[in-house]
């Protein structure tokens, strides 16, 4: 497998650089302790940790959906700020556990929203797009195998199909980085594999950096180049998937979880 090695050439601009990034919600609840890390371009990173450990918050600080209250987020060499926010989001795809599509709009329109950051004109407000954008959207739908569903309403599709529309929307952005927040937590094992295979292909073929939060150790071992573990909002682990042993799982999820999950999850190590 021609998976890119961990650590790209030193000259390449890292995809993500965090310097002391922390998040404190109004009211004083700390969601994320200040942490620093670097993700080289082209890496497939799995974010693990118990529910509430800060995975979603960390992912959302990377595209500013949740503003970091301390530290600095640098994406592709650009520091995240009010003025760079839209430019960074334009090249950063995001995939969600609940897909976050607009259910009443058709699949094509949902995919075309991926082009919105490039189309600031009045026409876009009336859902009008140039031909070029339709070509990009068609290609994205082709990549996820949903060409025949282009004109169906998004909420008529199954969960797995909706998630593929979510991926097509991200692809239409022509992203350099894709953030995926528990993309398979609402899907059955077979569909989960399809979705993660798609992300892996996008990672290898297009060299897109992928940061995905996952709960199943089996999937993590199968897909990730690197594992970042969070516990109660703090960095608890950072290493290759092979180093993710029972002791480490026990630290992240509690002793019982490690004992029952062991090496394999249903369907994950097939």
């Amino acid at each position: 497998m021609d998976r890119p090695a961990i650590g790209m050439p030193a000259t390449a601009t890292p995809s993500v650089v965090l310097r002391g990034v922390g998040t404190r919600y109004p009211g004083g609840v700390t969601a994320l302790e200040p942490l620093s890390l670097t993700i080289p371009a082209g890496q497939f990173v799995a974010l693990v940790g118990a529910s509430g450990a800060g995975k979603s918050t960390l992912l959302r600080t990377l595209n500013g959906l949740v503003p970091a209250t301390s530290g600095e987020v640098v994406i592709d060499g650009i520091t995240l700020s009010r003025s760079t926010l839209r430019a960074i989001r334009a090249r950063t795809g995001m995939i969600f556990q609940q897909f976050n599509l607009v259910g009443r709009l058709n699949v094509m329109t949902n995919v075309l929203t991926g082009r919105l950051s490039h189309r600031r004109g009045l026409a876009s407000l009336f859902h009008r797009f140039p031909r070029e954008d339709f070509d990009i959207a068609h290609e994205a739908l082709d990549r996820v195998g949903l060409t025949d569903k282009a004109w169906e309403r998004a909420d008529r599709l199954s969960g797995g199909q909706q998630q593929r529309v979510g991926i097509a929307r991200a692809l239409a952005q022509q992203p350099r980085l894709i953030l995926a927040d528990e993309p398979v937590a609402s899907l059955d094992p077979g569909t989960s594999i399809e979705i993660l295979d798609l992300l892996a292909a996008i990672n290898r073929r297009d060299g897109v950096t992928i940061v995905v939060s996952l709960h199943q150790p089996g999937y993590v071992r199968r897909y990730a180049d690197r594992v970042i573990g969070l516990k109660r909002g703090a960095l608890a682990f950072d290493g290759p998937p092979e180093a993710m042993d029972d002791a480490m799982l026990a630290t992240l999820y509690g002793a019982d979880a490690a004992a029952t999950s062991g090496r394999g999850d249903v369907g994950a190590d097939a």
Partner: protein, 270 residues
């Protein structure tokens, strides 16, 4: 034989509010009835007078009046349509400003809400009086009065429909780097659409009835004829007027039900 029952509360007794509320309402009504001069004897004495009035309604219509009636009724309908159309267009941007999840700033949100409630504060008839003295007699002051109150009502209803929107698609569209207005167009309005259509047809229905009484103050429509017919005891005109209003409201009601079903369930729904 009845089985003993209990309420789903820790004590097994019904929640106190469920008992106190009806008791309180009845007590309040009994205490305040004398203020309004409501007494049973007066109501009983009114019955013969009402029957007498009802008897007068069953008369042969004044056929010579029918062309006039038709013209007045069309004028009434036209006033309704123009006022509702203008109000729908004007209330959209106000609604976006008055929706907590779409407004650019809390101060703008509060200001927009204030403007909308000021418009609703007085009924159409009072606004019509104001506009009659401003622009003179005829349908124009009626249209202005109806449009003003309708913007106030629709703006609030639209704003609430927008606030009900699922935040997840909104997050999905924000994440691609869309502007605030693009988020409104792609995530908020599509979700609010069924409510917008429902409110619009409801308002249309309400406005036909408003338009039917605006003639009372010389602001156009069938109302003037209706009031004159009542004052002059011309029951052979009053009855056709009432029947015509009834027919228009009924037909509109049927049409709006169909339109609403179509928008909510998609094309071709029963």
């Amino acid at each position: 034989m009845s089985v003993p029952t209990r309420s789903p509360t820790p004590s097994g007794r019904p929640p106190p509010a469920l008992i106190l509320l009806p008791v309180g309402v009845v007590a309040l009504l009994v205490a305040t009835a004398p203020l309004l001069d409501v007494d049973a004897k007066r109501l009983l004495h009114a019955v013969p007078a009402l029957l007498d009035f009802a008897g007068h309604l069953f008369v042969a219509p004044d056929w010579a009046y029918l062309p006039d009636l038709l013209r007045r009724m069309l004028e009434t309908l036209e006033m309704t349509l123009i006022a509702t159309l203008v109000a729908t267009v004007l209330s959209m941007p106000l609604a976006v400003l008055a929706a907590r999840n779409a407004s650019p700033h809390p101060a703008v949100f509060h200001a927009a809400r204030q403007v909308l409630s000021a418009m609703r504060a007085l009924p159409e008839l009072v606004w019509a009086l104001v506009f009659v003295s401003a622009v003179g007699l005829g349908p124009l002051p009626g249209i202005l009065a109806m449009a003003l109150v309708t913007v106030g009502f629709m703006g609030k209803a639209f704003a609430e429909a927008i606030e009900m929107a699922d935040p997840r698609p909104v997050e999905g569209v924000r994440a691609v780097g869309a502007t605030r207005v693009q988020v409104v167009s792609f995530a908020l309005l599509p979700q609010a659409l069924p409510d917008l259509v429902g409110t619009t047809v409801y308002v249309l229905d309400h406005n036909v009835r408003s338009a039917a009484i605006l003639g009372l103050v010389g602001a156009g429509g069938i109302g003037y004829d209706m009031v004159m017919a009542m004052r002059l005891y011309e029951f052979d005109r009053l009855t056709p007027i009432a029947v015509a209003i009834y027919l228009v409201v009924t037909v509109l009601d049927r049409l709006s039900d169909r339109l609403r079903a179509r928008v909510i369930h998609g094309r071709g729904a029963p």
